[in-house]
Every structure is written in structure tokens, then in C-alpha cells.
Amino acid sequence: MNLRFFCALLAGLLLVGLVAAQQPAKMKRTADGHPDLSGIWAYAVDLPSGGIKRVSNGEVTVKQADLSNRRAPKGEVKGALPFTTAPAYKPEFQAKVKDLIDHESKTDPVFYCGRPGVPRIGSPRKIVQLPNEIIFFYEDMSGDTYRVIPTDGRPHRADANPGAYGDSVGHWEGDTLVVDVTNFDDNTWFGENGYFHTDAMHVTERLWLDANNNLAWQAIVDDPKVLAQPWTITPRVVKPSNEPLEESARCVEDDGHRLQNNDHHGQR
């Protein structure tokens, strides 16, 4: 083997490797041909940045929480709908929204262990996809909830009681799972910044796998009683995870009576 041939061979192998590395991962699919969303997905609730410095037996270690799954994805999320950063309320409700956010530390239900509801709870921590239904599991400090979502074409339940997570039915649009959610109570906010809603809220969630088999999630919120138009929120992309689900600790709020001012900060 002369040197020229060896170099050509090496260049060819490198090229093949490069092309292979740029190919999207093969999409996981179930036996019925739909994308397989099953699995554990990264914890995507925002947490403080920083970490813990541990000193033990003279050894110093620092561990930081991985917050990358909570941050807005960089660049375009393929398959996502155009979105805006804030909902458009009807003019007569804008003062109420401002008042709620100005006093968020006292008015936001999740500050007091309330349920975030759909869509504020975000992407599921675990998905079990079955032929006729799909089950979402969540970890949340208000309680670890679940949603059983029929995908067999049945309509919404007519006799379900309203709740924070509503009543869901799902169907596939191509490779995107579309979940239609209705029958909400009006005890939650659908996002930070005082985004209250009524029992007329209607949420559409869209879930799909991106080119790297990460889970993409996006929701559209409509509430014709208070919103001027439906709001499509920023998509999120979460990675697969090996971290098992763990029961969330009970929630006991003990700071509300200690608040000295209205200082607050953004959260989801």
C-alpha cells in the first residue's frame, strides 16, 4: 500500500464517518408505525442555578444541577409552530393580569403548593405509549400527577369533573401527537405573569421526536372569554433520561405570612 493510496483511504473513511455523524438518529417507532414517545424524559422544572460544595474527609467536590432541559432551546425547533412570548388578553382583562403579576408572591397558586395544571406543568417526566392510549406521568411539588389520554378516537368525556389537568384525548397528525384538553377549573394560571383563565380554556398540546430522538413539546392556549386570540407558547425540547421518577416531597408553604414586600421573580 503506497502512501497516496493510504491517504485516500483514510480521507474516504473520515468522510463516511462525518456523513454518518450528521445523519439524524433513526426515529423510534411503535409496532403501529407511530413515533414511540415512551420513556423517561429529563426533569424540566426550573431549579436554582449553582450547586453544592461538599467537604468530606478533606475532599472537596462541587456538583451542579443540569438545567439545560428547562432553558428555551437555542435555534429553531423543527416542527414547532410559530409562537409569541406572551398571550394577548382582551383589553378589559389586562389590568387584572397586571395586578396579579404585581402581587404574584401572594396571588400565584403554585407559590402556595397549588397545582400548575395544563399547560403550565410542561412536558411529562415519563410517557407510556400503548396502542389505544398514552399515559403521561409528572413530578411536581404539588403532587405527582398523571394523565391517561385515549388515542382511539373517542370523544371527550361528558361526565368528568373539571380540574387543573382537564380532560384529554389524543390523535396523531403525521408524526406529531396532538392532545386536546378541555374541562378545566379556573383555579390555575396557564403560565407565569398572572396568566389567569376561565373554565372555557382549551389547550392543544403537540409532542414529537426531533432528529435526535429528543422530546419536543409545545402548547396552544385558547380562552375565548378572556383572550383576544389563541396563544402558542415557546416550544421545549427535553432529552431522554435515566433518572428514575421519585415521589415528590409533600408541600407545606410557610413563607406567605413572612412576606415583607411584593418582591418576586419569574417562574414558569
Binding site: 451542579q64 428547562r70 403554585v110 411539588m141 416531597a249 409533600r250 408541600c251 407545606v252 408553604e253 415583607q260
Partner: protein, 131 residues
């Protein structure tokens, strides 16, 4: 160095999230650093903040201090579980933190030093070397 860490930590605990239910400045005087040494009475692994109870010697008997910290989900993801702290129950510990504005024996936990010399301290992202 210790105080520099405490100072930058102010930024950390003001970070926003679903778990938090107020800005730390709404409850705590971030300039009023305290250090309490006493017996670790109880650890509660609860949301939205873990709670640590310390009985310290006060001017008129025992001062029952209560410190809150970050949420359990955060401690889990920085590799600390309840037993890392609770196993020292009944022993002397020293807690560094900031005190509540209402003047009660209530504080925000920033560092715990245990009797065996080991410690857990919250540090800001800026202090963590990039890998």
C-alpha cells in the same frame, strides 16, 4: 473566601422557578448574615423548601432556630439527600445563612458544618469551574 461565597449566593437564591414562591428578598434580609451553632433537632424534606431545626443556646434558654433551603428536587440533583443531613440529628452543627426580616428565629440556609468537620455549602454557578 467564605464571605465571598455567601455574597454571590445571594444571586443564586434569587433565581426564579416554579418551586420558588417568592423572591428571597421578600422574606430575608440578605445583608444580615447569621451563624448559629446548636443541636440539629429535626430535618424536614418538604417542598417548596427543605427545613432544618436547630436548638441553640440563647440569652434566656434555648433558641429554636428554623432554616429553610432550596427545594428537595434541587438537592436531589446536586447529589444531596435527606440522610446526608439527618444522620447528624442530635449532634452539634453550625449553620450559616441570612435572617428573616421579621426578626424571628428564621433564616435561609447557606452552609451547614457538621461536628466531624464535613460541610455542605451552596455555591453560585459562577464559582463552579467549567468542565
Amino acid at each position: 473566601m467564605k464571605y465571598r461565597i455567601l455574597a454571590v449566593f445571594m444571586v443564586l437564591i434569587a433565581a426564579g422557578s416554579l418551586w420558588a414562591h417568592h423572591s428571597t428578598t421578600a422574606v430575608f434580609d440578605m445583608g444580615k448574615k447569621i451563624q448559629v451553632t446548636g443541636t440539629l433537632n429535626r430535618v424536614e424534606w418538604i417542598n417548596p423548601h427543605i427545613s432544618i431545626y436547630v436548638d441553640a443556646k440563647g440569652e434566656h434558654g434555648v433558641d429554636a432556630w428554623h432554616f429553610e433551603g432550596s427545594p428537595p428536587a434541587w438537592f436531589r440533583r446536586v447529589g444531596v439527600n435527606k440522610n446526608d443531613i439527618a444522620r447528624f440529628q442530635g449532634q452539634m452543627i453550625t449553620v450559616d445563612g441570612v435572617r428573616a426580616k421579621d426578626g424571628t428565629l428564621y433564616g435561609y440556609l447557606q452552609k451547614i458544618t457538621f461536628a466531624d468537620g464535613s460541610s455542605l455549602e451552596t455555591v453560585s454557578a459562577g464559582q463552579i469551574p467549567e468542565k
